[in-house]
């Protein structure tokens, strides 16, 4: 904490940098949750959580009704006997993996995903991964990362997963642009098309849709982050010699333009060409936003910390739709990657990092915002208090990046307000 409050003082401990940091009960998913969208993205990967019944139950509850016959994720549930001896736990894990891979020949990449219990008992999943790699290569590539709640929050699970992929990527000297972060396929295709139209030669995505098609990386790779929660992934890419292109994140017309522009500049695209390529889609985005500006302008929004998308989304809502920001909570603030975003926020915006959920809810009640973005567990209790809410997880599952989703993104925020207006019950 950069500035502790004097004891006995109830004022929130705002640091010298103006950021409120709290350490209390956090009401946020753990990094395992990322598996829900990652396993849809990488279509021949299996995510095996090595954890407890709680971990399995979390995945199931977060996945909701999306029950697939045999989804490409599962939990190896640690049992009492595994706790007795670690040697046996390793053997057990090998047995589970062997059976799983025999049953699922379609799997080409296996992630062993660490959880709180596996971390606490110090089950070494990186050693397990290399042991299993020797056995199953070249058919299956085995990697590991931690999605545990003691180390990762919600979207940080994707960060850890992609970071685990990076050391494994092949080397290339090619001059190329890498778009980093898992996006819905349709959005990824749209953005790639735009970048290609700008005349940027080779464009690759991390992650790729298939294990065998992961991009190569090297000193002539420049990369754009599509998501604000990829700190370790970026560090890992830097280590491989790749170069980060700092930019606003591609939310809304302005964010998308700035994001594309960063690439255009880095690849020497002439300004005239840039303008020519983006003019039409940017206009579409602006039109899409205009539909909702009236409804959202001047409305007050409160972000509880969830996905780390909060700061860029707040920038978009304030800048392009005229919303007022009561508080922008984020579980973790990566100032380096958010430097442009923070600068684009209205001056004096209260940003909070971490959480003490009861105190934060007190602030929500005091502020009575028009809309609160929060986790699934908090939404109905707030609705009952007459406060409209938006599920944070919806923003992670829905296609919201880029020009052609700008209107949809605005609509996600407008819908709860509209509903409140139409209901007479």
């Amino acid at each position: 904490m950069s500035a502790g409050p004097a004891s006995g003082c109830d004022a929130p401990p705002v640091g010298v940098d103006g950021i409120l940091r709290e350490r209390g009960q956090r009401e946020v998913f753990c990094g395992l949750t990322g598996i829900i969208w990652l396993h849809r993205k990488i279509q021949d990967a299996f995510f095996l959580v090595v954890g407890s019944r709680t971990c399995a139950h979390l995945l199931q509850s977060a996945a909701g009704v999306m029950v697939f016959a045999e989804p490409r994720f599962g939990t190896a549930i640690i049992e009492e006997k595994d706790l007795a001896g670690l040697a046996d736990a390793n053997e057990e894990l090998d047995r589970v993996v062997t059976r799983l891979l025999a049953r699922r020949p379609d799997i080409k990449m296996l992630f062993l995903v660490g959880s709180c219990p596996s971390e606490v008992i110090k089950l070494d999943l990186s050693r397990a991964a290399s042991r299993l790699n020797t056995r199953f290569s070249p058919n299956v590539r085995v990697l590991n990362y931690s999605g545990s709640g003691i180390e990762t929050t919600f979207t940080q699970g994707e960060n850890a997963c992609l970071a685990a992929l990076v050391p494994d990527l092949a080397f290339t000297d090619d001059r190329q642009l890498m778009v980093v972060g898992s996006l819905p396929d349709i959005v990824e295709d749209q953005l790639t098309r735009l970048l290609a139209d700008l005349g940027i030669g080779k464009i690759v995505s991390l992650p790729a849709r298939l294990a065998g098609q992961m991009p190569a990386v090297g000193p002539n790779t420049k990369y754009l982050l599509a998501q604000p929660f990829l700190a370790e992934t970026a560090t890992a890419l830097d280590k491989r010699g790749a170069i980060h292109l700092p930019a606003l994140f591609p939310f809304g017309a302005e964010g998308t333009t700035a994001w594309l522009h960063a690439a255009a500049q880095a690849f020497g695209v002439p300004e005239a060409r840039f303008e020519q390529v983006i003019a039409a889609p940017r206009e579409r985005a602006r039109k899409g936003l205009a539909l909702y500006r009236e409804r959202l302008n001047g409305k007050r929004i409160f972000f509880m910390p969830d996905s780390q998308l909060e700061v860029p989304l707040a920038r978009f809502l304030a800048g392009e739709l005229g919303m007022e920001l009561c508080e922008v909570g984020t579980p973790y603030l990566h100032k380096g990657h958010l430097i442009d975003e923070l600068a684009a926020l209205p001056p004096g915006t209260l940003i909070s990092e971490g959480q003490d959920v009861d105190k934060q809810l007190d602030r929500v009640r005091a502020a009575r915002p028009d809309l609160t973005v929060c986790g699934l567990g908090l939404a109905n209790p707030l609705e009952k208090e007459g406060l409209s809410t938006k599920w944070a997880i919806e923003l992670v599952f829905s296609p919201i990046h880029g020009y052609d989703q700008a209107g949809d993104l605005a609509e996600l925020f407008a819908r709860p307000l509209h509903r409140r207006d139409v209901l007479r019950v």
Binding site: V28, T54, F73, A76, L83, G149, I150, G377
Partner: protein, 529 residues
């Protein structure tokens, strides 16, 4: 290690949460990492509760390990007490905290909190949700029941008083607990019996203190209340009513047992609802012998099997439960119906068993609903685990006579109605009445449901198309001749799948390589025996 894809039960601390969330003025301090807070959504989303569960999670992080997780626990417990001022607290560990062994109980004792603190030991690596709920309720009752407070004399100064019962077992997130409690309370009132308290649901710790003031206990949900009931039996000499009133017959027996425990005569005129007549009415003839597969928690599964067989005339072709604690009861019932009991919490094993049994109706949990959808079978939910659609806005109990009415409606609704079954057969070749139309009463199917409800038709329609093709088309792999396929196409779609499976099985077992029209009828007579 056990590879798990979907689980029927959460960890035991979720069971404890179900008890705590059902109660009032009780607070649960759970030593757990942040991700475990997902459990709140079970209550606020699935059950649509309008308050957060009364649970404070310590949400320790990796950097706290080995340093001050114990301190963190104390801060969280203190803050929770100060903020919520509960009448009592329960404290315990989730799976991760169990490994770091901070001893929440010992810690809370040193804090001098101004309310009773009940420690929970819920072994996460060997036990599950129902066990956790049962153990939690038992510990709460044991910890809070005032042993001095007993039932007053049956005859007081103003003459005999009304008998009193405790209604035990309902929790938050239970399958229809809310409505069952309303239904059974009404039934008891009609019988002239007072409800001393309902617990855990709606009870406060202060209410639990007077649990001994009832004459007897009604164990509505044995999965949760059996352990507490047997302690109360020993401690307060309260009898336990054990019949679970699901179905008309069980409700009658329940009334008899309740009256015996209360020492009152069984009234002779009780409104027994419509279920009996609905089932005897002519339209229901078609229900006879419908093959039903039943899976759920032990209590609901056994009760459903009885209703299905005695009160609807179905044939039970599969019976099982996911909670091993009730395996004995399920085995006994399975023997009665002549089926192999299925005791497993492996979702894939249940799916295999359902497929093998080829039922016409599945009665199960949320999981079986998905299995049934995939296998294109009608399904009704009879047990937890449940999803948001299993918490209807309307009153919809499973217990008592009104519960029996509800069972009739919800189990029969997914099936094809009586006369309609014949009409479908009669008009099946009529171009305006193609199989694809499906049962008319399911026409209301929502967009989301429609593909599942109508999928069987699409899939099973294939043979018809082939049957219409010229005779020169070679028999499809699997050995069906065109003529046999055409015949198969004439069988009503809702039994066509079974006819096809049976014929193929018959052919395989009898070494028949080419399935002709005769094979079809040989198989039919073979399986009709």
């Amino acid at each position: 290690m056990q590879l798990t894809v979907w689980t029927y039960e959460g960890p035991p601390h979720v069971g404890a949460m179900r008890v705590a969330t059902g109660m009032r003025d009780l607070h649960y301090v759970l030593h757990a990492p942040q991700g475990d807070t997902y459990a709140d959504l079970l209550f606020t989303m699935i059950e649509r509760r309008d308050h957060r569960p009364p649970v404070t999670y310590t949400t320790f992080q990796a950097r706290d390990l080995g340093k001050d997780t114990a301190e963190l626990f104390k801060t969280a417990a203190r803050d929770a007490y100060d903020r919520y001022r509960p009448q009592a607290m329960i404290v315990g560990s989730s799976c991760t905290a169990e490994l770091i062994q901070d001893d929440p109980h010992g810690l809370s004792l040193t804090m001098g909190l101004d309310c009773p603190v009940i420690p929970l030991e819920l072994p996460s690596y060997s036990r599950k949700e129902n066990w956790g709920a049962s153990e939690t309720f038992y510990q709460i009752v044991r910890g809070l029941a005032d042993k001095e407070r007993k039932a007053p004399p049956a005859v007081g100064e103003n003459g005999p008083r009304r008998p009193r019962a405790n209604l035990l077992g309902p929790t938050a997130l239970g399958f229809r607990h809310r409505d069952d409690v309303a239904e059974i309370s009404r039934l008891l009132r009609d019988l002239g019996i007072d409800v001393n308290l309902v617990a855990p649901m709606t009870a406060s710790p202060a209410d639990i203190a007077r649990i001994g003031e009832a004459d007897f206990n009604i164990c509505l949900y044995p999965e949760i209340a059996a352990q507490a009931c047997s302690w109360l039996e020993r401690t307060f000499r309260q009898k336990t009513v054990k019949t679970v009133p699901i179905g008309v017959n069980a409700t009658r027996e329940f009334i008899a047992e309740v009256c015996a425990a209360a020492g009152i005569p069984v009234p002779d005129a009780i409104d027994q609802g419509r279920m009996g007549w609905w089932s005897r009415s002519i339209d229901s003839t078609y229900l006879t012998g419908k093959r039903v597969f039943i899976f759920g928690d032990g209590t609901h599964a056994v009760a459903a099997a009885r209703v299905a067989s005695e009160e609807l005339g179905f044939k039970v072709v599969g019976l099982g439960c996911y909670n091993r604690e009730f395996a004995r009861e399920v085995r006994a019932a399975a023997e009665k119906y002549g089926v192999e009991p299925l005791i497993t919490d492996d979702y894939l094993a249940v799916e295999d068993a359902i497929e093998a049994a080829a039922p016409e109706l599945v009665l199960g949990t949320q999981m079986e609903r998905h299995i049934a959808k995939r296998l294109r079978l009608p399904c009704a939910v009879i047990s937890a685990p449940v999803h948001v659609q299993d918490f209807p806005a309307r009153h919809s109990p499973q217990m008592g006579f009104e519960g029996a009415n509800v069972l009739f409606d919800t189990w029969v609704h997914p099936l094809v109605m009586g006369l309609e079954e014949h009409l479908l057969t009669m008009f099946r070749d009529d171009f305006e009445f193609s199989d694809a139309a499906g049962p008319s009463h399911l026409g209301h199917a929502s967009a989301a449901h429609a593909p599942a409800a109508h999928a069987p038709v699409a899939a099973e329609a294939a043979p018809v198309a082939e049957a219409a093709a010229p005779a020169s088309v070679p028999a499809e792999p699997g050995g069906w001749t065109d003529e046999a396929l055409a015949e198969l196409g004439k069988i009503p779609f809702f039994v066509r799948g079974k006819a096809r499976r049976n014929t193929e099985r018959y052919a395989a077992e009898h070494g028949v390589t080419t399935i002709t029209r005769d094979t079809l009828y040989e198989a039919k007579s073979h399986y009709a025996r």
